[in-house]
Symmetry: C2
Subunit: 120 residues, 2 copies
């Protein structure tokens, strides 16, 4: 089982992609592919925080009249982050430069999510 090929495929096909990871809702990555150009970027703290947000939204879903959460994006001045649920226990996260191809990033995660799910 190798998630890494899927994660690397996402990063390589999306302009401005920095890193892509499969992680649990505790924010601990199962596997990460980080672009060498982004090696200095410490995404760990941010991802733990974002994972907590995603977990909160997942747990709130039964209360909401707008359906279960499928995708969340959190954008700061420095990094665009797109997350997509893969299974009840895992999600995939993609970090992009602020001028990266956001639409392509969302699309790439949508395509990758079922492939990653099949390998979990």
């Amino acid at each position: 089982v190798s998630f890494l090929a899927h994660l690397q495929a996402v990063v390589s096909q999306v302009d401005g992609a920095l890193a892509c990871s499969v992680m649990g809702f505790d924010g601990i990555p199962v596997e990460t592919f980080q672009d060498q150009a982004a090696a200095d970027l410490d995404l760990g703290t941010t991802w733990v925080e974002y994972a907590a947000v995603l977990a909160q939204l997942k747990n709130a879903a039964p209360l909401l009249k707008t359906g279960g959460v499928a995708e969340v994006s959190i954008n700061t001045e420095k990094v665009i982050t797109v997350m997509r649920l893969v299974s009840p226990d895992y999600f995939v996260v993609l970090a992009l430069k602020p001028d990266g191809n956001y639409g392509k990033g969302r699309y790439a995660l949508r395509i990758a999510a079922p492939k990653i799910r099949d390998e979990l």
Copy 2:
């Protein structure tokens, strides 16, 4: 002071837009424009939950190495929601149909945010 014109302008220029609101981080709307076609849609519970998420991210920002959160998007099977910070106390939120024009929605909020801030 009327936010309503700005909110209505956002909804009218974005295909698939359902409602646009200025609200505090407690999830209480200051002003809302909801498309008549979406009058049945109860967004209140969802927005209170999303406001809590946004508040959590705003408070966590000093801890994160990726900068302050400017925009958050939460997408379910039924509704796409884009939120953008307007001031330390308020944000603007746009709800769209799942097939609505997401990119245009983000753009419209980016343009509307400073105009709304000027009126707060």
